[in-house]
Symmetry: C2
Amino acid sequence: MLRTGSRNATIESVAARAGVSRQTVSNVLNAPDRVSPQTAERVRRAIAELGYRPNWMARRLRNRAGRVLGFHIQAADHPGLGNLIDRFLHAVTSHAERAGYRLLLFTQSESCEAELGTYEELVATGTVDGFVLCDVRAEDERLPWLVERRVPFVCFGRPWGQELRCAWVDVDGALGTGQAVDHLVGRGHTRIGYLGWHPGSGFGDDRALGWRRTMQRHGLSTDDLQEQTDDNVDAAAAAASGLLAIADPPTAFVCASDTLAVGVRLATRSGPEVDVVGFDDSPVASLLLPPLSSVRQPLEDVARAIVRLLVEQLDRNTQSAEGVLLPPQLVVRDG
Amino acid sequence: MLRTGSRNATIESVAARAGVSRQTVSNVLNAPDRVSPQTAERVRRAIAELGYRPNWMARRLRNRAGRVLGFHIQAADHPGLGNLIDRFLHAVTSHAERAGYRLLLFTQSESCEAELGTYEELVATGTVDGFVLCDVRAEDERLPWLVERRVPFVCFGRPWGQELRCAWVDVDGALGTGQAVDHLVGRGHTRIGYLGWHPGSGFGDDRALGWRRTMQRHGLSTDDLQEQTDDNVDAAAAAASGLLAIADPPTAFVCASDTLAVGVRLATRSGPEVDVVGFDDSPVASLLLPPLSSVRQPLEDVARAIVRLLVEQLDRNTQSAEGVLLPPQLVVRDG
DNA sequence: CCCAGGCCTTTGAACGATCAACCCGCAGGC
DNA sequence: GCCTGCGGGTTGATCGTTCAAAGGCCTGGG
């Protein structure tokens, strides 16, 4: 707010007006049981009259806790989260607020060429108390760094291939592709292909595993039915065409992302109709013609769990190593 | 960071180590010309050795400026910005950081039933210094409220129909639909329909106006070529079907959003091929089959301008009424 | 010799809140 | 009479920083 001559009300001005001391005002707000009802009432009236709100900076400085969570927002869309970041951000912000925390965005600032520099800055200056990491890579150097400095954080996604104890929340990708296979089997398919990413990304491999395992459970063959590609439409279309060219080709596809699913649609535009299930239930899915079935991540639940784990660490002043694995939900949009 | 017994370095500990006073350390960082080179060097070494970073809360408390901008993130996708919020958020965050500000997200917290309550809270507690509003409605009560309290803010979108002076940045929607018409005329079309929203939203009406004006400039008729509908695929498909049923039907469409454009595609799936131009260049556009031409908003420029206008107000401690209108760019994806 | 003025540096006081300790009056137990 | 405990309230110190003012020291002019 612009300074217009009259400052905002402070705890001191409220105290003066109510004829009590600073601390009593503070107690009315933070420990009402220590104050007699009459006094409390008088103070509350003064607070209302002056429109007093405790200053956030001052309170946080004294308490040595900013109650702010950092979130690194990336420039390009990222596979795995696709363009769901806005939904996710809303959910995290909302749950954080319920716990008395706020969410602060940051990017790779150009002043720190090293990625860790940004994290170091935010921690050292006390700008944030902890982090939500939603794009954890294999061999991610941020994880050991944060663990070593005992900075609280929670990963969205298991810390694949990292030998360290940290808190995480993830969606069971294998279960999701498994559901997709079940669904397609239910529709009578026996030849179900899988289109995924190149191996190495933890959650990509996980989704592939779910397809393979569930196919085997149904007693179906997976030989020659899997292709790996980049996460873009053209590459996916080419890969799908390859699979369709084999003897006894697939009549349905499970894909690691909606983008790949669109690629399959592109490759099968002029041929016989095939069933496709995507992953992430991005806005694209419902807009396609015909609409696309897709595995939806329970972002609201993910956000809730992430905030819970992070706040637990901050309140107890320890790091935790709890992991939460949530089931996705297949959104069926067939015919 | 968790307290591990050894606290973070403070300005005092740096001073002690360098054998100078607090203020000298502060001067080295904030007013280097007041310090002799030798002393400065000694202090800098101490800073490096201890890894000192000025505490953000303390600095902001003293300066009475948090250098934080508030951004209301909404639950549902919103027409007009579509699902571009993540791109926009990244751009705003990045430019804000360059100016020494940070972006704080907030939602409609359940403790304040009134929308303004949240804004009041953020301002009164000093949590944020100003706001970026990206979803300004006609008759938006937030605008007069913020103006009256002299809280700095910038709108993404002109404050349509509001009689007040405030800073805004907008994309010239009429120019965008005009470009779309020009493009379609260049491809030989003379019957070009327009699919838009129900009148009342400022930017919706603006886009419709651009189509109408440009059609007239080309000497083309607009009679019976315009339909208004809700921003969803089914409604758009129905409306497009209506337009296609008239005598001398349109052979191409300009749409107020990509969602509407998808509706047109749906309606013309089995009939003769029509050219369609969407608006916003959402991720859907490039994924459709065939890909969709669309009018792209220069979000990076918008963000830059918004941050500039907001920071100007904060630095000068005044509200401004400057408006910035930016040209969109047609992304052509025809065959 | 003294004082003005520039340069560098230090000291005191904020900023607005909370924690810790203390104070006061009164009731109850020995 | 004295000590203890307790409900209700106050004061002082503190969080880590910056602003405002003052304090040395040195040089140069009167």
